[in-house]
Symmetry: C2
Amino acid sequence: MPPSNLRPVDPARIRFTGGFWADRIGLVRDVTVPALLRRLDEEGWLETLAFDRAPAPLVRPVQASGLSMQHFFDSDIGKWIEAASLAMLAGGRDGRLEERIDAIAERYAAGQMPDGYLNSWFIRREPGRRWTNLRDWHEMYSLGHLVEGAVAYTRATGKRRLLEVVSRAVDHAIATFGPLPSQRRGYDAHAEMELAMVRLHDLTGDPRHLAFARYLVDERGRMPSYFDEEARARGQDPADYHYKTYAYSQAHKPVREQAEVVGHAVRATYLYAAMADLARADGDAALAAACGRLFDRLVSRQLYVTGGIGPSADNEGFTREYDLPNATAYAETCAAIGLGLFAHRLDSLALHGRHADIVETVLFNGALAGLSADGEHFFYDNVLESAGQHRRWRWHYCPCCATNIARFMAGAGQFVCSAGSDTVAVHQYASCEADLDVGGRPVRLVQATDYPWDGTVRLRLVPDTPRRVALLLRVPGWSRSATLTVDGQAVDAGPLTQDGYCRIDRHWSGGEEVVLRLAMLVERLHAHPAVAADAGRQALRRGPVVYCVEECDVGMDPRRIRLPADAALGPRFDPDLPGGGAVVVEGTALAAVDEDWSGLYRTEPTRLATCALRAVPYYLWANRAEGAMAVWLPQA
Amino acid sequence: MPPSNLRPVDPARIRFTGGFWADRIGLVRDVTVPALLRRLDEEGWLETLAFDRAPAPLVRPVQASGLSMQHFFDSDIGKWIEAASLAMLAGGRDGRLEERIDAIAERYAAGQMPDGYLNSWFIRREPGRRWTNLRDWHEMYSLGHLVEGAVAYTRATGKRRLLEVVSRAVDHAIATFGPLPSQRRGYDAHAEMELAMVRLHDLTGDPRHLAFARYLVDERGRMPSYFDEEARARGQDPADYHYKTYAYSQAHKPVREQAEVVGHAVRATYLYAAMADLARADGDAALAAACGRLFDRLVSRQLYVTGGIGPSADNEGFTREYDLPNATAYAETCAAIGLGLFAHRLDSLALHGRHADIVETVLFNGALAGLSADGEHFFYDNVLESAGQHRRWRWHYCPCCATNIARFMAGAGQFVCSAGSDTVAVHQYASCEADLDVGGRPVRLVQATDYPWDGTVRLRLVPDTPRRVALLLRVPGWSRSATLTVDGQAVDAGPLTQDGYCRIDRHWSGGEEVVLRLAMLVERLHAHPAVAADAGRQALRRGPVVYCVEECDVGMDPRRIRLPADAALGPRFDPDLPGGGAVVVEGTALAAVDEDWSGLYRTEPTRLATCALRAVPYYLWANRAEGAMAVWLPQA
């Protein structure tokens, strides 16, 4: 497809009108956002913004390694503000919440250094060390999240105080870092400032903001490395770098030359997302090509079936291609979110259904698993198999995933649809109303569906006056059979479908009902033969939802189950599951029994006995009872 | 069986006369021992014994964590001396080697502190910190290995200089630590001194040595913990202990109360082995019961099929029962060795074939894999599945396994047989001659066999004068069919066999030939259903040898192979394999092919194509070419 002129829907202009996402955004608004605020209070994070007082002892001491997560807790305050703001955009303003955020803004304003520098850790605790370690200390990353929070807060409330404070800090960063002789040629090892500058530019239109994002992206990976120079300036040997290679931060070579997906998975996806933003803003073909190359590589060789990425805890990131272990999967919630942000932005370069397929996979599986059904417990890493030792946590020494999943879910509306001059593209199916600007004139998109439990979606396009608009409906990659009616007339979707979207180009008066029916079958997935961890195994999926088997549902360790080739498996909606119920997959399978076992190894095959199989959506796991879990089941 | 009065053969009185172990001990003597000496020179370890000079800069700097392996490198000097001495016992004295060891002894003598304290790290580099951290710094562990080295050297050469030096250090330790008010109630968190004291007592007969071992074993796990007191004395908070629990060192409760196998696997097995030594020496039923309980638990729930133990790198040790991941198996070479030492000692408490079964499994698989076929490259951790990233190393920042596998293999003779007042028990089959003391009179045991490639063993018992002796022959747990002839007459082994040993109780004049024929079949092993990592998989074993499939033998990643239930698999001796050839297992299997694959997941099953299967002994892996490896193959 040619370069896309599509722009995602403004989060302020879309409302979920019931169903899956309305429920979840309600949960984030009603439970997660207030719970996270309590955590920030309890952990002393907001106290640290009392710049007029001497800092209190740390609630959590800095580790001997010197790598303190607390250097970057401004980032989580920023993500929390963004989550709260998006929740207000979705569900209405909230005076008490605004009071707290306004107070935070005032604290930042009071503590900001005269030159604009803003970071609560360094200002209060280590002022002499500011901007001395962009490799490890995340100062731009932290500021970037504060910027994203401030932009969202301004959009939600119109208030500009926090925006002014962070904009001064941005001005200071722009003055400090850049290619001029008077500047330092630094960039943050953890991408995020790049994304924030694009977001800020969207609000301000200030070309300096976009230019700074461009500088940061272009500077990354230039040799000799700024991180080397900076280490020497600190009196350290660059060779002592803990992670040994700047590939950890995708800073081992210029971004346009990168063809392999390496390093820390969150850093990678944030960077790639920013590259996509810039490629669009600048019409930069080389950058767009790099984005496409990296996306293809990532999703074809390094992606868990859940949308999780980054298998290893060692580098919180990527290892060898096809290395996707289940029991030790790191698959950080933030990394799945980053993948969603990246995939979503690719539609601004060229529309293709595989981008929204990935967003969908992440939304319903790899990211959503990071938040509990009760809205206040979290997973950082997301294994695909557990002996039962995994527990969702209330708080974490590095709680990045908690604030991130809150802002990601609260902002889910951004992924639903986009509009061009004469086009409306629907990427995600959910009951909602979206007010779109299509070529300067308003068009309302209305969806009604029980997605993801049912594949029937009823849509209407309501222009202000009847007009011709091309409605593009994504036909998901998992769909085997899509049927379409327009005003009750069957339409053959096949010939209309290209690159994953079915194009209905016609006049709309507003009364026409489009009905898309996606057959949702319980399917068995097989992994590529190079994925050793899944050899001889199958995973269950229905529609966009990947399933797992939990011990509490089958009364035994689900890792004993073997799936016969002919096992009949069927869906059933279970209203008693947390979060408003869910479709479960039920049937009969076999289970390895140990009654006749004595030792650990023997030559006689293990006896298999018939057992009832019940699988629940992966995102629901570890919500009801402690126990083992498995996504991939060996075939019988 | 009643308590055993069997004593293992004196390593000085057994000679391998050709075949598998003769070859390997020759390799250790000719290659490994000299290579390790070169490494000790290159790494500056022997320089550190120049107590008359200021210490040179460290070849490898101490890590920021403060946990330096170099605190305990005396232990590796001790293990190297033990290996060199055992190699001399097996193959004859060696003047040049003795010169080096004598020089080391003189250096230790010159550096020893006036009160007898001996540790090259603390004397030269941190004299003020000696005996201040038994929890982390391994001073007794290091001394223990020096003692074992000195005992072996004395046995091999008759020289006593090193023995005198270490004995003075032992006297100092005994004076320093103990239950008297004038003493400190300390013990080393890493068991080893206990084993060394028993070994020293065997040579000296000094009851103080046995008493010190007894003190150390009894003191372990007593609350309040000495390690807490010691941490406070250093001004540290015991709660800051890196490993969080003293179960890491099996010091969480008194050893007689321990029923679960926990913590660091080498520490555990060294401790258990010492407990077995003391249970025998003291007739301590409670200690013997604890040994039996721990052994049963370990081998029935925590043992890799290779004899490896301790799945986790985090604690270099045990996790949950049945947690035996293949690709991330830690299974430290030293831990397999420790298991061998422990299992072997249990026969001194009660003879049962399962003890020598485990020793055999370790000898031919989990431990032997730690040494390369060229004799100078090593594995520390021993995975059972690899994507190809594993390489044997020439040296390691913690080279404990290199010196340990050298001494273990050089001392393999100790495991072969043992003798009581009227009994000779044969535990391991290998061509050898052993001169045993049977009730005060000499009996020679002669074995001739091509074990482990052929299950036929010809044995003779040659007493000085004809006499009645019970010959006990182990019938391995893996054996499905054992036939026996004595002087050509078939004997029904079944009724004679109890607890894994076939008892031939008769007069021997010396000319009788006993022939034991153990059918060696290629067998498929299945793991207990609770071992999730092996669900739906099979491993190949023939006799005591466990097999693996290497990429270089099958021309593809072996993790793509599926084993059909009806695949015919047969053995063939391949003389071209390193180390004198080996029996390989060959046949036909299926392999997952990816020609028709595009993405990463799909609903169509993967196509399987017929492929040639070739499996080699696990111990041989990573000797020929880089590449992937798998022990457990999914069934087709």
